[in-house]
Amino acid sequence: MESLEEIKARIEAAVPGAKIDIVTNGGPSQQHSLRVDNEHACDVAKWLRDDPALRLDFCSNVTGVDWLDRTVKKTVKVKKVVDGEEKEVNETTEEKIPGHIEAVYHLYSMTHKHGPVIIRIRTSDRVENACLPSLTPIWRSAEFQEREIFDLYGVKFDGHPDLRRILMWDEFEDYPMRKDYREPDDYEYEPTPHDDVLERAKPYYTPRPQIDGAESIVEGSKPT
C-alpha cells in the first residue's frame, strides 16, 4: 500500500478543497491517521472506497473518542540576548484546546487485502455542535456503530438513515461514555479496605502524565 503522504496528495488532487492533516502516532504501533474536514468527509470517503488502487471497501471499526477541554503547556529552551549576553531561558507556552468528540474509522480493503487506513473526523465542540457527517451511505457497516456513538457520546450524524438510541433505553438522557458523565448516586457504596490501600499506595505513583504534555484536564461543561 502507498504511504499516507501519497494518499493525502492524491486525495487533495481528487477532491478539491479537502483539508487533510496527517495525525502521527508516536507509539510503537505506528498507525498514523488522516484527519479529514467535515465538509469533504463524504467525498473523501467515497473516493477512498472507489479508487482502484486503494479500494478500501471494508470499514471495520467506527469509534467515538471524547476529548475534554485541556491546556497544553510546553516548556522550550530559547536562546535570548539578555543584557548583551546570550542566555538560555525557559519559555512556557500555553495552548488551550477546546473539547471535541472524534469519530475514528478503520478502513481495510477486502479486494487488495491491505490496510488499515485510519480516518478521523471531529466535532467543533462537545455541547451544541456535536454533529458529524454520516458515512453510512458509503459503508453500511457504520450504521449500527454510528448509532452507538450517537447513543453513548451524543454525536448527531447528518445523513444517517435511522439515528436512534441503540443500547440505552429511549427515555435516557445522558451520554454515558463521555468522560464527564456522572452515574446516578449509588447509595449502596461502602468504603472497603481497598480504598485505604489505594490511599496508601498513592505516594508511590508518579502523577499521571497527559497526552501532548498537557498538565491539567479542565472538566468540560456537562451537557444538559
Binding site: 440505552m168 433505553w169 429511549d170 427515555e171 435516557f172 438522557e173 445522558d174 454515558p176 458523565y181 449502596e188
Partner: protein
C-alpha cells in the same frame, strides 16, 4: 400433618408394606421432584445453565429438565447472568406472569450484586432489589455442580414448606404479594431504583 405420625409406628407399618403419609408430604414430594425452570438466559451464566441441562451434568436426574419457554408453565426462574437496567423491568414482568408457587435462583455474582460489572451505569446491582430470591449461588460463573447444589437446596426448601398453620408457605398466604411493581425507565436511572418492600440495603458499619 406429618408431625402427627409416630415415626416408630410408621417404620413398623412400612415393614409390613403399608405406607402412611400425609397430604403435605405427598404434595411437597410431588412438587419438589418436578420443578420446571423458565428457559431464559441472560449472559455467560446461562451457558453454564445449558451445560447443566446437557449431557454431562444432566439436571433431569433431579426432575428439572423441562425448561419451559413460557412463564405461565414455569415454577422456577433461574436468573442466570447480568441483569441490566434495561432488562430489569422485563424480568419483574416475567416473574409476575409466573403462576404461584414460584421460586427464584440468583445464579452468579452478577445476579446477586452486579458482580464484576457492578460499576457499570447500566447494570442492576442485584435482582433482589425488585423480586425476592430463594437461593443465591456465588461464582462467576458458578460451575454446573453449584447449580445442581442450589437446585437441591431449593428442593429441601420446598420439602419444608407447610400447608397450613401460622408459618405456612408464602404462596398459600393471601396476605403475601405474588406480584411486584415493575420499575419504569427514567431519565437517568430506573424508577424507583429498588423496591423498598423487598430490598433493605445493609446497614453500613465501620469499625
Amino acid at each position: 400433618m406429618s408431625e402427627g405420625i409416630d415415626e416408630v409406628l410408621r417404620s413398623k407399618l412400612q415393614q409390613q408394606g403399608v405406607w402412611v403419609s400425609s397430604m403435605q408430604e405427598l404434595y411437597n414430594w410431588g412438587r419438589k421432584n418436578s420443578i420446571w425452570p423458565l428457559q431464559f438466559g441472560l449472559a455467560c451464566c446461562a451457558i453454564e445453565m445449558i451445560a447443566t441441562a446437557a449431557s454431562r451434568y444432566d439436571i433431569a436426574r433431579f426432575g428439572g429438565e423441562v425448561f419451559r419457554p413460557s412463564p405461565r408453565q414455569a415454577d422456577l426462574m433461574i436468573v442466570a447472568g447480568t441483569v441490566t437496567k434495561k432488562m430489569a423491568p422485563q424480568i419483574v414482568r416475567l416473574y409476575n406472569q409466573m403462576a404461584d408457587p414460584k421460586y427464584v435462583i440468583a445464579m452468579g455474582a452478577c445476579a446477586i450484586s452486579g458482580g464484576p460489572f457492578k460499576q457499570g451505569y447500566n447494570v442492576l446491582k442485584g435482582i433482589d432489589r425488585y423480586i425476592p430470591v430463594d437461593v443465591y449461588i456465588p461464582g462467576c460463573p458458578p460451575r454446573p455442580e453449584a447449580l445442581l447444589h442450589a437446585f437441591m437446596e431449593l428442593q429441601r426448601k420446598i420439602d419444608e414448606q407447610k400447608l397450613s398453620g401460622a408459618n405456612k408457605a408464602a404462596h398459600l398466604d393471601s396476605e403475601q404479594p405474588s406480584e411486584f411493581p415493575v420499575p419504569a425507565f427514567g431519565k437517568h436511572d430506573l424508577e424507583p431504583p429498588a423496591n423498598p418492600d423487598v430490598f433493605h440495603p445493609p446497614k453500613l458499619e465501620r469499625v
